[in-house]
């Protein structure tokens, strides 16, 4: 199905591209926001990535999945934008926790949980939140993450390991803060 639309786009049928926009816009936005952390910048990054993918569609070699190829474009544009905005965050690792405080988390409504998880991802560094999204949410293999980010296997493992700990630490500290405010 995807190949048919790729062919259409290469032949200059712009309507064929609507399929890709509808299918990948949420995922693209989710990847972009995990790097740039701002909704409006993430929207611009997503739009730029879609434009680039549209223009470069003829260079897509089909050695990998379209999604992996497209992730790479988004990640490159997002990190370039992050450089431009000078919003790199490289904090030393202080995170040691590796589970969420279930007693506090279970009392939250679904919307609140979603809010806290997204706030947690915003607090994390770009590399870490990106690694979590790619590995746990998009379920990419280490090799695919390597293709997307250009990182080495060992770097990916270290980033995911740190990201898990950071995630739980930030989430627990946000939950503690919430409890403190309620009390």
């Amino acid at each position: 199905m995807e190949e048919l639309y790729i062919k259409k786009v290469i032949e200059g049928d712009e309507h064929g591209y609507r399929y890709f926009i509808q299918r990948y816009q949420d995922m693209a936005f989710s990847i972009a926001i995990s790097v740039v952390k701002d909704e409006f910048i993430a929207e611009e990054v997503t739009q730029e990535a879609f434009m680039k993918a549209f223009e470069k569609m003829h260079t897509f070699k089909k050695h990998s999945k379209f999604s992996t190829w497209f992730y790479r474009i988004i990640v490159n544009i997002a990190f370039r934008r992050l450089d431009k905005e000078k919003k790199w965050k490289n904090e030393p690792l202080v995170a040691v926790e590796d589970s969420v405080d279930e007693s506090k988390f279970d009392t939250l409504e679904a919307d609140e949980r979603k809010f806290y998880i997204n706030e947690t991802l915003k607090l994390m560094s770009a590399n870490e939140s990106l690694a979590l999204r790619l590995f746990y949410l998009e379920e990419l293999s280490l090799n695919e993450i390597k293709d997307v980010t250009g990182w080495s296997n060992s770097k990916i493992k270290v980033v995911i390991h740190r990201a898990r700990k950071s995630f739980y630490s930030y989430l627990n500290s946000l939950l503690k803060e919430e409890t403190r405010l309620i009390i």
């Binding site: 609507r18 879609f50 493992k157 898990r164 995630f167």
Partner: protein, 117 residues
């Protein structure tokens, strides 16, 4: 370390927090941009082809005039057309080279842009 990564709870938490595109007009805006981009490219390509066509037609016409006109035994304001053969040819050649350079630059730039994008 890979054993640590098998964290079902984290997977659950992240899938519960899936982010969706919050801008409802995103798809239409993007399609408009795609359409504009595509039309722009088509127009540039068409204009470039027309430019080459008119350049060739103009060059042939210019050369024909500069070669053919002086062969006519006609006087123009007391001047024999034979005497303006070389100045006319110089002017025509100058224009041809000038326009050719511009067109080559434009074509190369267009190709580079297309291969970069």
């Amino acid at each position: 370390m890979m054993g640590d990564f098998n964290d079902k709870r984290l997977k659950e938490l992240l899938s519960d927090s899936k982010v969706e595109m919050p801008f409802s007009d995103f798809e239409n805006n993007l399609m408009r941009r795609v359409k504009t981009e595509l039309n722009g490219k088509r127009v540039i390509h068409k204009n470039l082809r027309l430019s080459w066509l008119f350049f060739l037609l103009g060059s042939v016409f210019g050369l024909a005039i500069s070669i053919g006109l002086p062969t006519l035994k006609v006087e123009l304001a007391g001047w024999e057309l034979q005497s303006i053969k070389y100045p006319l040819m110089t002017i025509v050649l100058f224009i041809i080279i000038w326009q050719l350079e511009g067109l080559i630059k434009l074509t190369v730039r267009n190709r580079k842009f297309r291969s970069m994008s």
